[in-house]
């Protein structure tokens, strides 16, 4: 599938340049063309791409890139900076009304994930901010939407205000707020029905709810997989309701998520949260800089580091990092890490976050599941201590023994040894680029 990241896309062009020593304007043109295609393939709106390319070209044709020794890397750096700036800073605060309850309205197209996000947001408010929200089932149109919210309410052990499907959504919202005041809920989250942004009647209904309840936040819920139309949807919801922020859902999929950039560029409204899974605690603060990396297909190394930091004991992590840097990382450490990695979540998710991971041989189609993990574990445990520290001594007869001991094959042992070797190399790149922190990333091909 033609779904390469920017780094891969630029590879061919860069190869051509490296032989030349000097970069011409034509080279820059070719590079910006690749950038353009990469952004379009990531579903960034073509108008937004056009503006971006113009700015990138200006900077690229300037001395910044032409005189640099690594023009390819410079182009990526310029692109990333432009994207990051466009995405804006991180804004994941939720408004607090002077006089409770704070009212939050959830709006969006059908199937974006409003009801699930309503549940997740309520969970976040209680868990992180110690609030006591009331959920409001104002989607009277979709069959069983009320049941869905009520089920979520039961799962969360939170009250849901509903009046069945015959009531008017505007009345439901108004009465819910009275009830929240009576029962001292400090937040009210109104789940509205999905609707097309061009549906005048239904958009009028939202405006009425807005007028009556005077919400402190109006979150537009957008599917991260949305294509070129994301811009029109966001623009039109924003025009009619003046939204306060965006929640991007289904970001745990493999979409590049260019829609996020488009929405931000067109409405100027921040993406505040991202839905990262089907469970109710999987709503996270949105990190614009990481999104920029993701759109470019550069891997989400920051999320990876943060995840590691959250799960791994800090002192141990420091030790591990030193080991990675000095290349003295052994199978012993690997085994220890595996336990910690298991706590961090699905391994394929982690691998996806690593820059260049999809470029590595064996990693590209590597679908890691728990069974494979236990094979790896068995192989390592069948090694002697000496072998774990210095895998280079593992010769053919040792391999045979290890395979036998772990109930695997020599080929599997070979594969693990090779992967381990590549992993070590990658770790070195990751850690050495982390030293410079803001200085951009090192790419294997430069």
């Amino acid at each position: 599938m033609a779904f390469e990241g920017l780094a891969e896309r630029l590879q061919g062009t860069i190869k051509k340049i490296t032989g030349k020593g000097k970069v011409s304007e034509a080279d820059v043109k070719e590079m910006t063309r690749e950038v353009r295609l990469a952004l379009l393939e990531a579903d960034v709106n073509f108008k937004v791409v056009k503006d971006l390319i113009k700015r990138i070209k200006e900077r690229a044709v300037g001395q910044e890139v032409l005189e640099s020794l690594t023009p390819g890397q410079q182009v990526i750096k310029v692109v990333k900076e432009e994207l990051t700036e466009l995405m804006g800073g991180e804004q994941s605060k939720i408004a607090v009304a002077n006089k409770p309850p704070t009212v939050i309205m959830m709006v969006g197209l059908q199937g974006a994930g409003k009801t699930t996000t309503t549940g997740k947001l309520a969970n976040l408010l209680r868990k992180k901010y110690n609030r006591n929200p009331l959920l409001v089932a104002a989607d009277v149109y979709r069959p069983a939407a009320i049941d869905q919210l009520e089920t979520l309410g039961t799962q969360l052990d939170m009250p849901v205000y509903s009046k069945g499907t015959d009531a008017n959504p505007v009345d439901i919202a108004n009465e819910a707020i009275d009830k929240a005041k009576e029962e001292h809920h400090d937040y009210v989250i109104i789940d509205t029905a999905g609707r097309l942004h061009v549906d005048e009647d239904l958009m009028g209904e939202l405006q009425q709810i807005k007028e009556d309840t005077n919400p402190d936040e109006i979150f537009l819920v957008v599917d991260a997989m949305t294509g070129q139309d994301a811009v029109n949807v966001a623009e039109s919801f924003d025009e009619q309701l003046d939204i306060s922020g965006v929640v991007l859902t289904k970001l745990d999929g493999d979409t590049r998520g260019g829609a996020a950039l488009s929405i931000r560029a067109v409405t100027g409204k921040p993406v505040k949260f991202a839905g990262m899974g089907e469970k109710l605690d999987q709503l996270e603060a949105f990190h614009p800089d990481r999104m920029a990396s993701r759109i470019l297909g550069m891997g989400d190394v920051f999320s990876l580091i943060e995840k590691a930091e959250a799960e791994v004991d800090e002192k141990k992590a420091k030790e591990m990092q030193d080991k990675m840097r000095s290349m003295s990382f052994t199978f012993e450490d690997f085994l220890e890490q595996m336990d910690q990695v298991k706590n961090m979540g699905p391994l394929d998710e982690l691998i996806n976050m690593m820059p260049g991971a999809n470029k590595m041989k064996g990693m590209k189609n590597l679908q890691v599941d728990d069974k494979q993990l236990s094979h790896i574990e068995a192989i390592i445990q069948s090694m002697t201590k000496k072998e774990r520290v210095d895998p280079s001594i593992i010769n053919a007869s040792r391999k045979k023994r290890i395979a036998k001991g772990s109930g695997t094959s020599v080929a599997q042992v070979n594969r693990l040894l090779k992967q381990f070797d590549e992993m070590k190399k990658m770790m070195k790149q990751m850690t050495s680029s982390k030293k410079g922190k803001k200085g951009g990333m090192n790419f294997p091909f430069m």
Partner: protein, 335 residues
């Protein structure tokens, strides 16, 4: 004979009602597309590189997909050279011809109908990512099949999402068909198994199997889906007779990835493209057909129970280019 004339003849054999449905449902797409192409043609007198660059943008903005657009533009450039077309007005017809070409390729131009068994049970498995409209599609399909005199049964295989079973129940009531269900959180394969047994013993014509939405990069969930399919295969050797992938027309390039991975896991036989009425896009239909060769079998053109229509590429292109055609016919008469 010009391409537009041929297209008109093709669709004149179909009822006006269906044609109108496509025209109405595609209003947004058409307005977006036609006005842009017309504007482009008006601004450029000559067909040159810049003209093609702008055309490329128009197609990309319809979510046709970068690869397909590049291919299309290349072919257009060749065709324009071959026919020595200078006038931008004449390009319009070539564009629509190429789009239909892309859709059909070398295949015959028949409409892809559902593979329904004559005297035996037909099992249809519905799959897709979260929020694309699987359950709604089942409701609408059930209604239509029932109207055609078939006895229909639904199996509530989405045991994961809160309220999904209730949602299917409501559709079952609306279409007046029974729903086989277990409790939330139970094994979906077991529900489908029971569905098949019930369909067999009641002598039903069609069993529609709902499944939970899942993102295609979740390996375990995709395996679960393969397992569901295996259970069906074991019970009825030729089944499922159709595996329909439901795609949301507002989805961008990720739709390609969805189609590819779901095809690998469940051997998808056709696509249902939903929410086409609300989007100015829908170009992804072309990309999927071009790159993956999966036919579109149904399109959702509105919220009414009757708004799920069998897909017809001629209708689709006419819906897209109808206005262009009227205009170029007029100009033909003038000259």
């Amino acid at each position: 004979m010009g391409f537009f004339k041929k297209l008109k003849e093709k669709i004149s054999t179909q009822t006006d009602q269906v044609t109108d449905k496509f025209k109405d449902g595609l209003t947004k797409t058409r307005d977006n597309f036609t006005s842009k192409v017309n504007d482009l043609v008006a601004r450029y007198r000559k067909v040159d590189e810049e003209f093609f660059e702008e055309l490329e943008e128009i197609l990309i903005s319809a979510d046709v997909g970068v690869e397909t657009v590049m291919e299309l533009i290349e072919e257009l450039e060749m065709e324009v050279k071959r026919q020595n077309i200078q006038d931008t007005e004449a390009v319009k017809e070539v564009i629509s011809e190429k789009l239909v070409d892309i859709y059909y390729g070398d295949d015959n131009e028949s409409v892809e109908e559902l593979n329904l068994q004559e005297d035996d049970l037909t099992v249809i498995l519905i799959v897709g990512v979260n929020g694309v409209g699987k359950t709604t599609t089942i409701g609408k399909l059930a209604h239509q099949l029932k109207q055609e005199g078939k006895s229909v049964l639904l199996a509530a295989g989405d045991t994961f999402r809160a309220g999904a079973i209730d949602q299917l129940d409501v559709w079952g009531e609306r279409a007046d068909v029974d729903v086989i269900k277990h409790n939330e959180g139970s094994d979906p394969a077991a529900v489908i198994y029971d569905g098949i047994q019930a369909a067999k013993s009641r002598g039903a014509d069609v069993l529609l199997c709902d499944t939970a939405g899942r993102l295609q990069n979740k390996v375990n969930l995709m395996k679960e889906l393969s397992k569901v399919k295996k259970v069906i295969e074991r019970e009825i050797p030729q089944a499922p007779h159709e595996t329909l992938l439901v795609l949301d027309a507002t989805t961008g390039q990720n739709a390609m990835s969805q189609a590819k991975v779901f095809k690998e896991a469940t051997d998808v036989s056709g696509i249902v493209l939903t929410k086409l009425d609300g989007t100015a896009r829908g170009g992804i239909v072309l990309a999927i057909r071009n790159e993956l060769d999966i036919p579109v079998k149904y399109v959702g053109l509105g919220e009414q129970i009757t708004d799920l229509q069998p897909f017809n590429a001629h209708q689709f292109v006419y819906g897209l280019f109808g206005d262009l055609m009227v205009e170029s016919n007029e100009s033909e008469q003038e000259s």
